[in-house]
């Protein structure tokens, strides 16, 4: 009749802890092993079939042929909001624009430069690291693609991307994440180059294997010393390295490419957690430690309980 209790024996506590930890671990284990530091090395290595785009701002004439070509290849409508229905006139990457030409102009001097903005297809993308259910993935050729059946619309990719590339369709009832995918479904899979590089009339943006393009870029730098900013290629090491490389005569920050260190964001973010959560070790350990203390205190509590109930005339409330 009375609500009597059996104090938890050591064996029972142990079994319980193993039970909890084991169940969770066994379910998560296969993926857990992969979430080790090796998945986000400090200096990512490009996959062997990695393709890239090399954009040379000094060759670009700002003709914007790449913009309608991209829209057409990806079935995107023109962003005619600001032009009253006449021109495709986006002010930046948005839900209808995967690729844009922006102009940097210094109001005081004559300095100007064009820059082509789209997804950088990083070697260790922050968006892929952050996506909870793997909707954004780095697939073959190193292209970063989005899968609509896995995305929950949490927009963590927008927060994570240092280049502010993924665009959420804010105005749609079935919102997608819109970003350049190297024309993966439409062209890359058929061994065609992306629409923008195919459309470029001056060869300002070209497509090829990352190693080859990197060499080509360095060759251009060597052939014209002091023409290119800091005599280096942007994207070689930024955020661990990207598959879109930039050459520019003006500072990269002026054309809107952020200053980034050589380690990927994924590495920085998972440095500690990948160790703690490896094989769920940290939580299981913590559970064990807490379990010991809790068991001891629970037993003390139980020992005093009956006494306490008698004194106060009130049953113990949990």
């Amino acid at each position: 009749m009375n609500i009597l209790e059996v104090s938890l024996t050591r064996r029972q506590a142990f079994k319980a802890m193993l039970g909890i930890g084991g169940t969770v671990a066994s379910v998560v284990l296969p993926k857990s092993a992969a979430a080790s530091t090796e998945e986000h090395p400090a200096h990512p290595i490009a996959p062997p079939d990695a393709v890239a785009m090399l954009y040379d701002s000094t060759i670009c004439t700002g003709c914007k042929a790449c913009m309608p070509a991209c829209n057409e290849a990806n079935g995107l409508p023109a962003d005619t909001l600001l032009s009253g229905g006449i021109w495709d006139m986006p002010t930046g990457l948005n839900a209808q624009t995967k690729n844009i030409i922006e102009l940097y102009q210094d109001p005081k001097s004559d300095e100007f430069a064009f820059v082509k903005k789209q997804c950088m297809h990083c070697l260790d993308p922050a968006c892929v690291t952050g996506c909870p259910f793997g909707s954004l993935k780095k697939v073959d050729f190193g292209a970063v693609t989005w899968n609509s059946s896995l995305c929950i619309g949490c927009r963590y990719c927008e927060v994570a991307c240092p280049f502010e590339v993924p665009q959420f369709e804010w105005k749609a009832l079935n919102p997608k994440i819109v970003k350049c995918e190297f024309c993966y479904d439409q062209r890359l899979k058929e061994n065609l180059e992306p629409a923008c590089t195919a459309a470029c009339p001056t060869g300002a943006v070209i497509f090829g294997k990352r190693d080859a393009l990197l060499d080509q870029a360095k060759g251009r730098i060597a052939a014209a010393p002091d023409k290119y900013y800091e005599n280096r290629v942007y994207g070689e090491h930024e955020a661990g390295g990207t598959q879109v490389l930039y050459l520019s005569s003006v500072s990269f920050q002026k054309i809107g490419l952020p200053k980034l260190g050589p380690t990927s964001l994924g590495h920085y973010a998972t440095k500690v957690t990948s160790v703690i959560y490896k094989w769920l070790g940290g939580p299981v350990l913590m559970a064990g430690v807490l379990g010991l203390f809790i068991r001891r205190n629970w037993n003390r509590h139980e020992a005093e309980r009956l006494l306490h109930e008698k004194e106060t005339g009130f049953p113990d409330q949990l």
Binding site: W87, D88, E102
Partner: protein, 394 residues
């Protein structure tokens, strides 16, 4: 150099022979071939050659095709357009490249003689001649709105068209009805393809169309009996696969936003884009932007400052008001302005700011009042135990 007009011979000779007979220089012929190549730079097998000499070599061997030209409800503008070519002159060359067996405007005979000429030509070249139709065919009132030598136009077309190797409907009227078919359309004007849908018909709409389109099609047929590729409206793709807007010489002004607002204003004088004046260029398929008329550059509507009225399109010409601005439906290429490197987006609603301020204020005040209550109780000496008293708690 004007040669003499030789009567049509009893048999058809090759073009080379004919030109030699008429004393037309090879130079003129080469200029003609060049014009053809310019008119049809792609999509026409005849002109898909490396040089005018190559075209001339092929064309020279071609037997002159017999052409019968019928007028129905027309204004003769299409003929006029053909007549206005000057390089080469119409009489000089064109009449010697094709064998025009019957043409009411140009032929010398009339009356009974003309009827006989028609019957003879139809009989002699049955199954071999090309019928060129100019003008729409009235179907209203059992076809009694127009009769040719006493016969209703519909019957004439059925008869002569039936015996033709191919029919070329020149002009918008013959292609889909043209001006006569505009509201209220009392005559029930229709194009050739509406009456003889199963025949081999090439439509060359336009009001008038560029004559070289017709010449290219006819000569191609004469060369190897094939027609150039056509679209679903039976128009040859080499001339009609692009719209005016795509190749318009004033496109740069469109992209830069230089629009004519009023006829005769500064922009009009500067040659700016006529989009806002109702130019139907974006909705109209034709080659006028690149091949102007009368072989003189800029002799075409937009070139002289008149907005395109879409004369080739059934859905546009004589239907959509000339001043009405069209919707752009192809992917609009961006204008000459550029997106800046940084954009400021997002707006702050003053109402929202006010609400937040209000909320924070309410909470802060509430907290202060509550805290005052505590000290009020404590200062109240009379309440028992108002001073803090430590119990024997563990």
């Amino acid at each position: 150099m004007l040669g003499t007009l030789k009567p049509s011979s009893t048999k058809l000779e090759t073009i080379d022979e004919r030109l030699r007979q008429c004393g037309i220089s090879r130079r003129s012929f080469l200029v003609f071939c060049t014009s053809l190549m310019v008119a049809a730079p792609y999509g026409l097998a005849l002109t898909d050659k490396a040089s005018p000499e190559a075209v001339a070599a092929v064309l020279g061997k071609v037997v002159r095709p017999p052409v019968i030209w019928l007028h129905f409800q027309d204004c003769t503008g299409c003929t006029e357009s053909l007549l206005q070519t000057s390089h080469p002159g119409f009489a000089d060359l064109i009449l010697n490249v094709i064998s025009l067996e019957y043409h009411e405007t140009l032929m010398a005979g009339s009356g009974l003689q003309a009827r006989q000429a028609l019957d003879e030509a139809v009989q002699k070249y049955a199954g071999k001649y090309i019928l060129v139709v100019e003008g729409s065919i009235p179907t209203g009132a059992h076809g009694s709105y127009m009769k040719l030598a006493g016969r209703p136009a519909i019957d004439v077309l059925a008869d002569i068209g039936g015996k033709a190797a191919a029919i070329i409907a020149i002009g918008s009227c013959a292609s889909w009805g043209g001006i006569p078919s505009a509201d209220p359309d009392p005559t029930g004007a229709v194009g050739v393809a509406d009456l003889l849908p199963d025949h081999s018909i090439i439509n060359i709409p336009g009001c008038p169309p560029n004559p070289y389109t017709m010449l290219g099609v006819v000569l191609q047929y004469a060369t190897d009996g094939t027609f150039p590729e056509t679209d679903e409206q039976r128009r040859p793709k080499f001339a009609f696969d692009r719209d005016i807007h795509e190749h318009c010489p004033r496109r740069a002004h469109f992209d830069a936003g230089n629009f004519v607002k009023v006829y005769g204003d500064e922009g009009h004088r500067e040659g700016w884009c006529l989009y806002e004046m109702g130019c139907k260029g974006p909705d109209t398929h034709a080659g006028c932007s690149t091949r102007h008329f009368n072989e003189i550059p800029d002799v075409w509507p937009i070139g002289i400052g008149a907005p395109c009225i879409g004369c080739t399109e059934k859905a546009v010409a004589f239907k959509v008001p000339m001043f009405q601005v069209v919707q752009l439906h192809t992917i609009a290429a961006p204008p000459t302005s550029y997106a800046p490197i940084t954009t400021t987006r997002g707006t702050i609603s003053p109402l929202a700011t006010g609400l937040v301020g209000l909320g924070v204020g309410v909470l802060a005040t509430g907290g202060y009042v509550a805290s005052r209550q505590f000290s009020k109780k404590q200062d109240d000496e009379s309440a028992p135990g108002s001073k803090p008293d430590k119990g024997t708690g563990a």
